[in-house]
């Protein structure tokens, strides 16, 4: 039997797109939230943490109702959007924590040398904070990948995908999850024990 890997290719595209989008927004949010005290900071943080506790199914429904012409079949773009929203809190949170972990004298020094915030970000903040952000992104990528693959698979089993494919698929998804965990651990910050 030949295994049709087509759903995994789609999953890859969805996961890639949503990670890239969430990383773009999350980096900016994390920097902005870590930079100074915002009056509306608590509101942004509350909204950000909302998808964490929200069941993905209901989150998807909300997104559908908001953006999608109801009842249409899930498009890849919708799936990527849903993925991005669900992983944004993790990435923005990691980015914020990572930026707050940069010793403040380093961006301060850059500013007193006349650097614009743009240069401060690229030279005096991101190079010192990228490890935890990258680790969070790897995990987020794997999560969207697996979530999408599993959903497609489940839907597929109900229709036309032969049951025999379940084994290799499950092994793949598990391997992706484990591999992402290991990779994140490897990329992530090296910390001395307390």
């Amino acid at each position: 039997m030949t295994i049709d890997w087509f759903p995994l290719a789609d999953s890859l595209r969805v996961a890639g797109a949503s990670t890239a989008a969430a990383l773009g927004v999350g980096l900016w949010l994390g920097w902005a939230l870590g930079l100074r005290r915002w009056r509306a900071g608590w509101l942004v943080e509350t909204l950000l943490s909302w998808p964490v506790a929200m069941p993905p199914l209901i989150l998807g429904t909300y997104l559908f109702v908001t953006f999608g012409p109801w009842p249409r079949i899930l498009s890849l773009r919708m799936a990527a959007t849903a993925g991005a929203v669900s992983i944004l809190p993790a990435i923005a949170g990691a980015a914020r924590a990572a930026f707050l972990g940069v010793p403040r004298e380093i961006p301060r020094a850059a500013r007193s040398l006349g650097a614009t915030e743009w240069r401060v970000f690229w030279v005096a903040a991101l190079p010192l904070a990228y490890r935890p952000i990258l680790a969070a992104s790897v995990l987020a990528f794997a999560r969207v990948f697996n979530e999408f693959a599993a959903t497609v698979l489940l839907a597929g089993f109900l229709h036309r995908v032969p049951q025999a494919m379940a084994g290799p698929y499950l092994v793949t998804l598990t391997a992706v999850a484990l591999g992402a965990g290991g990779l994140a651990r490897w990329i992530g910050p090296r910390q001395e024990p307390v």
Binding site: E105, I106, R108, L113
Partner: protein, 341 residues
């Protein structure tokens, strides 16, 4: 004119209220927690004061009433903080290039090379900050700050010595504000000295003048005048340039105190090193007070003797060896060592 008036409350530890001018190399001296670093941070723009106004070369950096608050990058203040702030992921040379942004590329690398040479950093220029020793990292931070062409250099207490300050002033003609806990360095290198304690300026002026003539009890204590007595002027003799001072339990002959009246209360400060100690059995020591020894603490170069009545005297080890078997003691107050506050 470069002038700063800064009010900032950080309850409960500190309430800063200072008004001072910066000229040449100005040194800020005070105990830990006096607010010295906070003053630098306020001038650099990292901390917003509650009130006041900061001017650098007649440009307003901060004005609480007019709601002016320039961003740190527009203040032209070079800042070298207490902790190492070289960018750890790039080499020292690229750290310096980061600051040298103006002018054509060749000109920038020339200026970087020149400062590396001046601060003896050329051999380690290709190293990352963590590969070079702390003294080199400090010089690197100074060189980087100078490359941004500041008008005012803010140096927080981080092991600056006279040699480094001298090379800074050779390379840089602008103003320097230095925080230090080293009084010798203040006298050797600074043009102006500001004494700070608990967020208030106690005294300021030329270092020599401040160190020799403290104006208040707090300033005297900060400058190491451990002997401070409050007494009364019993007599004043301008002709012989002397005075008679009465304290609780003893009386001394002091220098003439201009501008005071007989009968006025006066505080007298004496440096421990200016006192002389003798055996109590010796007769006829001028201006001496009998005292009993309470405690002896051996320092690095001198021995500090604490006598009853809060009298402290520093003597050399040699002198202490000679006199340590004294059964009773008297302390001599040389007339010119007495300073009226």
């Amino acid at each position: 004119m470069t002038h700063a008036r800064i009010g900032k409350k950080i309850p409960p530890a500190l309430s800063l209220e200072v008004d001072f001018e910066i000229a040449g190399l100005t040194a800020l001296y005070g105990p830990a927690g006096a607010g010295k670093s906070l003053m630098l941070e306020a001038i650099a723009g990292f901390v917003d004061p509650d009130s006041g106004r900061i001017m650098l070369d007649d440009a307003i950096l901060f004005d609480a009433e007019a709601r002016v608050n320039l961003a740190p990058r527009r203040r032209h203040c070079g800042y070298v903080g207490q902790r190492d702030a070289l960018f750890p992921h790039i080499t020292l040379r690229r750290n310096l290039l980061f600051a040298a942004r103006r002018g054509p590329r060749l000109e920038r690398s020339r200026r970087v090379a020149e400062l590396l040479e001046r601060f003896q950093l050329t051999p380690v220029a290709a190293g990352r900050p963590r590969e070079i020793d702390p003294a080199q990292a400090l010089r690197g931070a100074v060189a980087r700050a100078l490359l941004a062409a500041p008008k005012l250099l803010l140096l927080d207490d981080r092991g600056f010595d006279e040699a480094l300050l001298r090379s800074i002033r050779e390379a840089f003609g602008g103003l320097v504000l230095l925080v230090t806990g080293d009084l010798d360095l203040c006298c050797a290198a600074a043009d102006r000295l500001i004494l700070l304690e608990r967020g208030r300026i106690l005294q300021s002026g030329a270092p020599r003048a401040v160190v020799d003539r403290p104006e208040s009890v707090d300033a005297a204590r900060l400058l190491g005048f451990s002997n401070i007595f409050e007494g009364e002027i019993a007599a004043l003799d301008p002709a012989r340039k002397s005075s008679r001072l009465e304290f609780a339990g003893f009386a001394l002959t002091g220098p003439y105190i201009p501008g005071r009246f007989r009968g006025a209360r006066v505080s007298i400060a004496v440096l421990p090193a200016d006192l002389r100690v003798h055996s109590g059995e010796l007769e006829g020591q001028p201006n001496a007070v009998p005292a009993s020894l309470v405690r002896v603490s051996r320092g690095a170069r001198t021995v500090r003797l604490e006598f009853s009545g809060g009298i402290f005297a520093d003597v050399s080890f040699q002198e202490f060896e000679r006199q340590k078997d004294n059964r009773s003691w008297q302390v001599e107050f040389p007339q010119q060592a007495l300073r009226a506050l």
